[in-house]
Symmetry: D2
Subunit: 385 residues, 4 copies
């Protein structure tokens, strides 16, 4: 236990383009910081908005060269693919319905894609994208960013190594409150518009994160579910609260709650996993701590960088224990690993490591699709497609 | 905010008998401390065990006079009813299946009953007991003790007064870990034996508490539910984990999780209620704090005895803020209020106040019954009977 | 780990009298509940107020027989000592300046004394009382009630057994906020009047608790200190905030903060002890948890009744882990142990066990005296007398 | 309350050099990430180690051009000052004793300095540096990074606006455990060597942070102190634990504890401030929450980005509430503001805003100096020079 920092040895930064993420966007700015944090990417091109002036204005604000500011992702994909120093990877940070066409445009040109979640707004698109990715020489990374937190990695490894025994119960929840009342702003608008977000509201926006986290840590896949979705705010077209019962392959059971109408919850993603030998608990809002309870022993805490943390997790942290890392650092871990994966791939050796990709993307869209179908059948149990 | 204590002005203590609660019992000792804490009861008779020697030994250990130690509750009911200074009330703290016959024996003689939960081990018994209570001049108090916590009362009152607006979502959970592995001791034995505990295991033992708490605070009744119950420990005859989705009268929805196989959870009863104007959260394991989040305002904490606590709640506390009260004090509140109710009743004025009784008991047994029926139908949605 | 309760086997309750504790008192009510909780005492006599009508009224309110209600402690001591079924013990719960004369009156008649802290209002009185106790056949118990908490006992035992190695640093604080502004009520009045409380204000009222707790757990005695005391509220005659640096015998150092003007602190007594092998932390406001940090290992939590709790601590708890015990239960532990000590003493075998008595009382008054003297010398370092 | 991200509009990044921060350094890596996070700086030159090969190796690892890798800060200062595109600012991240000569070398050439704390290793150096800064056209920024946390800014503004009334008490502590036992590694070596770290050990390394934070938030300066410093680990030449009593200008009093031998404390910097109208509390290890307790009202929490946060604080956050920001983001705030200050200064308008600089640096070194002098006089009270 000493205080040592680490940053990444120099490798030429990956040339990055961005689709979406213009003024007033949320997640685009997050992706840019994440890409910048470890110095592994250089943003050189962008189709930052579907509105031409906004695309220009946003590109200039980010210091892009004028000829690398594009009015559409199609233009960008075509031209960048032909440039000698064209982008090597693209970050797609648009509303969900654009994920598929944009990703396809770059993948078919061999440009690596780093795409925000959910992978697509429909299951059909997800399946098409899976094929496009298979046919491409480019990598596809899905930013299920919560898997980038070191203590989530620690949890996953402990479960995998049997520290909890056979998993019996998974409790996961993701609660927010910002949609408690009707909202009219850019973020609320598209996230509550089924044409842009997909048929799931809270389910698609945050339920997918909860589902992904539960599966990532437990190592289990959801086979069946019963979902009781609701739009509590009058006039809202998509669910803003979802109660879901889960059955996992192998016999574990779970509950998932996602809500955007739960006052007092800012971004309360919480996971608890219980097996016949122990339990663990992790809270996104205070993410540097993993609470571990071996059955019959005093509960203990593994801290990021502290005693008991696995050596395999260490590369996902930058600073000593007690110096909190947060959301951006977890997100940046995916970017750093994407850069590593891209460099390895360019060197002929493809390895995604723990990076979420097509499989996780498909699972997530299947989850949303199943929730919506179940809820339409009065919350009946259904199989995931 | 000053430091003042309070204890109860003298009224002659209520003469109390006890059925069950002999050596090795858990809840009997709790009832005795609760009865003693505020000086409102005097334990004078007991049928403390169905095993004669144990009944004798336990009675002597409690300082009962020899002629007030009984071998059966029937004997006790008959004789005490005839004594000039016979018991005025009886505490029934046996395994669940004995609740009904014992309560009936005393009620039919006009002796007030303070009964542990769940009210009975079957729904049929519950209905019979409801009739017996109706026909009796005695009161029936059900010790859903968590309703005795001051901050639970505070929560209830705030919801009732509209502080949260229209209730939308109720999340309640009650997790323990002591049955994670097979146990063979008195407590585990009867609680996992359907003949004695009823068809519900965790559902009946702790799920009923969670259900009761959710209804008490929200003021809502459960209309429909879907329950996925499980016995994770091989050979166990009743559920040790239950996932339940709830629909309340009026449109609110909820989830209830009860588990006795969740390592790291000692007695983790937690309630969260969300309305269109705010949310609240309460944890049994740190019960002196109520977390309140009016939408759009900073979250705040109402502490037992502190600023913002309602005056109507104050009589349920004894010591200043920061001097923690716990499980026994909450339990004792029910006893104190039972004594008050008995004295009022004797004076011709019946008022149960917030005390749980037959209605809550019936609701609890209906809840367990519905969970078991739903789970048997592959967790289908069903109405509560 | 199972759920079992325990209460105390029957022994004839100790006949108890009380001095002080009439209407509007705080700590008298606490003592009565503590005495009642485990059924080990029966309150049969009282000199509950120095105001005759109030003494009468308070005695009747507590159900005392008219001839056992006294107008002064002297009367009570004299008469009770002569009664065949006179009190065996007396609880002294008056303002501090009465502790000495009252205790003396009972001790000299061989009646056991259970006295609230600080032992006396002056060091001279403390020394006199020590002599009176030595000369008496009665026991003297000082209710430094925080030593009654099970997890405080656990901490003490762990330190004693070397779990932390050699103790280096002790940090203790006791902060409240009720005297942030001027108060005029019974509790505030005497506690801020040096004639009744002694020369120390916060120091005597709560600083002594902090000092006692630090010594009890660390096993160390304070040798020297430097105290910077202050009365922040204009016109207040005693300190309402004290900063103290401590040097313990053996080389450990510490800091003690006591304050009654720290808004947001209800009864925030907190102890941290650090040695060369580990550290521990305990919070009175959430007292069922002991946080333990062996150096180089993940920190863990020992819970009341949970894994890792010492068997010697178990008798100081009544209910299973997760069912919180609090202030009254901790206080009741001292009463239960006092009853045990009295019964043993009557049987010819004197053992105080962990009960605080004269030695702790003297140490506490010495601490207050030293704080006041140091502060008067511009917070110079001084030896404890 | 909506979810919006923000990053900084494009301004040409400031060209940055770095002194120190080669392989195995801790704080150099932190500075680089902080400089990179918001895209406001471009690292173009470095004298990263006093060992020539290490300087080369470290420079290459960071992607510096060969001719911008220097063997000494003197060389770098001289040459960069003459380059057309030479560095505009330099980050000094060496052991403390090098801060003064390095800062002087750049300041005298008008190159802006961003220097790690404490400002210098001796008070004499601090005074000389103050003069050098006064004579320079360059800015001097001291990275007391904890002032960069949004909720620390919130606290400071609330105190300034009178939310707590007149400040009475300031309790601050900074505890770590990594030096509990003897350590032999780069970080421990220089930090426990008085020639490199200065006469203060824990006092200089972390005590200065605590002192700075207390003053920054309270708006008060320490006038007198009494410090009891100790080296608990045998053979250690500087203090590893310090207890300090503080008197602030205006009458407030405080305590400061700094320790590097407190097992279980990773980087536990905690501040509490109390006035006659309220109190507040902030914990570095969970820094997104500010606990506020107006006297007589329920305590509430202001969250980063949440309700009640001041608009002036908002620019210091990047992501919505509930998405935790941590140590690096707080540090990056100072870098972003340094870039702003540099650009403004270049435009003829000098404003340091909340950035710590010479004054804070001098105060910090005076604090350490006073602690060491006081402790040498048996912890006597002394004035700050």
């Amino acid at each position: 236990m000493t205080i040592e920092g680490q940053d990444t040895d120099f490798v030429r930064p990956v040339r990055l383009g961005m689709v979406g993420g213009g003024k007033d966007a949320f997640i685009g700015a997050v992706h840019r910081i994440a890409a910048r944090l470890d110095g592994c990417f250089e943003l050189v091109a962008g189709a930052l908005s579907s509105t031409p002036e906004k695309a220009q204005e946003s590109g200039r604000a980010l210091g892009l060269k004028p000829d690398r500011i594009y009015g559409s992702f199609e233009d960008m994909a075509k031209r960048e693919a032909r440039l000698k120093d064209g982008i090597e990877a693209v970050a797609i940070v648009t509303p969900n319905h654009v994920h598929y066409p944009a990703a396809k445009a770059f993948l078919k040109r061999g440009i690596h894609v780093i795409c925000d979640k959910p992978m697509t707004s429909t299951l059909a698109d997800a399946k098409r994208l899976a094929k496009a990715a298979e046919a491409s020489s480019g990598l596809f990374v899905l930013t299920h960013n919560y898997t980038g937190y070191p203590m989530v990695r620690q949890a996953r490894e402990m479960v995998e190594k049997g520290a909890l025994g056979t998993i019996r119960v998974v409790q996961v929840e993701y609660a927010q409150d910002w949609l408690t009342v009707e909202q009219t702003n850019k973020q609320a608008d598209w996230r509550t518009d089924p044409a842009r977000s997909g048929a799931g509201g809270a389910t698609g926006d945050i339920g997918t994160h909860a589902h992904n986290l539960a599966c990532f840590v437990s190592g289990l896949r959801v086979e069946r579910l019963a979902a009781d979705l609701q739009s509590f705010v009058p006039g809202r077209q998509v669910d803003d609260n979802g109660h879901v019962m889960l059955r996992f392959a192998g016999g574990a059971k779970g509950m998932l709650w996602c809500s955007q109408v739960a006052p007092g919850n800012e971004n309360n993603l919480k996971l608890r996993v219980y097996g016949d030998k122990g339990g663990l608990e992790w809270h996104q809002e205070n993410p540097n701590y993993l609470h571990v309870s071996p059955f019959g022993e005093p509960p203990h805490v593994i801290t990021r960088g502290g005693a008991g943390m696995s050596g395999t997790v260490a590369p996902a942290t930058r600073i000593p224990p007690g110096h909190p890392e947060g959301y951006l650092e977890g997100f940046a871990n995916l970017y750093k690993e994407a850069a590593d994966a891209i460099r390895s791939h360019q060197a002929g050796k493809t390895s995604m490591g723990l990076l979420p990709g097509i499989r996780e993307g498909l699972d997530g869209v299947r989850f949303v699709d199943a929730c919506v179908r179940s809820s339409a059948k009065k919350a009946a149990w259904i199989e995931l497609e």
